[in-house]
Amino acid sequence: SRDVFFETLDRVNDYYKKFINKLFQGGEGYLKYNPDTDGIEMFAQPSGKKIIRMEMLSGGEKALASVALLFALIEANPPPFCFMDEVDGPLDDANLMYVLETIKDLSKKTQVIFITHNRLTMEVSGTIYGITMEEDGVSKVVSVRLASF
């Protein structure tokens, strides 16, 4: 029903603001219902910048804004699992560390699985599965590392 929708939007928007503030170190953002499109507008502005339109954001800034919305949805309604395939690609090391710090908290609410080439992402993982194709064309799991905590 409409009431449930707007109540959910409020909750997701609150979380979105929180994550934009954290990931952009003081940035601002919001989600807004637009009756003309019956859709949701999304806005994000890194601290110290003047963003007129979302198109102006850089590749990494767009990835961070997307991640902030993903985290807000997870916080509002934690799914049984969350898969992220090379989301760390466009991020520089400093921004990736903020994302990974936030993921550590979220992984208490949902099973987080990354696919990555990045060493920093591997270092925060409790389990690492290595996949190879030693035999042409056939995927095998080669090794599992369990981090010692």
Binding site: T37, G39, N77, P79, F81, I113, G126, Y129, V138
Partner: protein, 158 residues
């Protein structure tokens, strides 16, 4: 509810039976280009009932079945099983496809329709418009999608 195990058999490049156990905390899947990492995500999306070929990077549904390589013949069946637990129970979702096109879904070992699988996941955020799976190269999609598509994501979180 939490994901605890995933089993692939004959799905894309995973010719032999392959099992992944997921324990608490963060899991990373690593490996060289083309080794089969993204195929694991395709397996999850497929087991949840995905029938769109573009999302699965295929042309026909049979393309998900291992089609052979230098040393191996192609198979005639692809099967993916997802195991979940919550405080009380264990659950399993399975999808199976034969080369002749027969498509089967199982919930806790019992043959069901796709609709039963979708009802099972209702309200968990896992559905065909799920926000919980970010495919390769799609991280900016939340920023680039149309406002109506973003509304569907918010509805999934309700």
């Amino acid at each position: 509810m939490r994901l605890v195990k995933l089993e692939l058999l004959g799905f894309k490049s995973f010719c032999d039976r392959t099992v992944f156990h997921f324990s608490e905390g963060i899991t990373s899947i690593v490996g060289p280009n083309g080794c089969g990492k993204s195929n694991i995500i395709d397996a999850i999306v497929w087991a949840l009932g995905e029938r769109g070929t573009k999302a699965l990077r295929i042309k026909e549904m049979e393309d998900v079945i291992f089609h052979g390589s230098n040393g191996r013949k192609g198979l005639n069946i692809a099967e993916v099983t997802i195991f979940l637990v919550d405080d009380k129970n264990e659950y399993s979702i399975r999808r199976r496809l034969f080369r002749d096109g027969t498509n089967e879904y199982f919930l806790n070992g019992k043959s069901v329709r796709l609709k039963d699988i979708q009802d099972f996941f209702l309200g968990t955020g896992i559905g065909l418009n799920t926000y919980a799976i970010i495919e390769q190269g799609r991280i900016e999609s939340f920023v680039q999608m149309k406002p109506q598509e973003r509304k569907i994501l918010i509805e999934e979180a309700g």
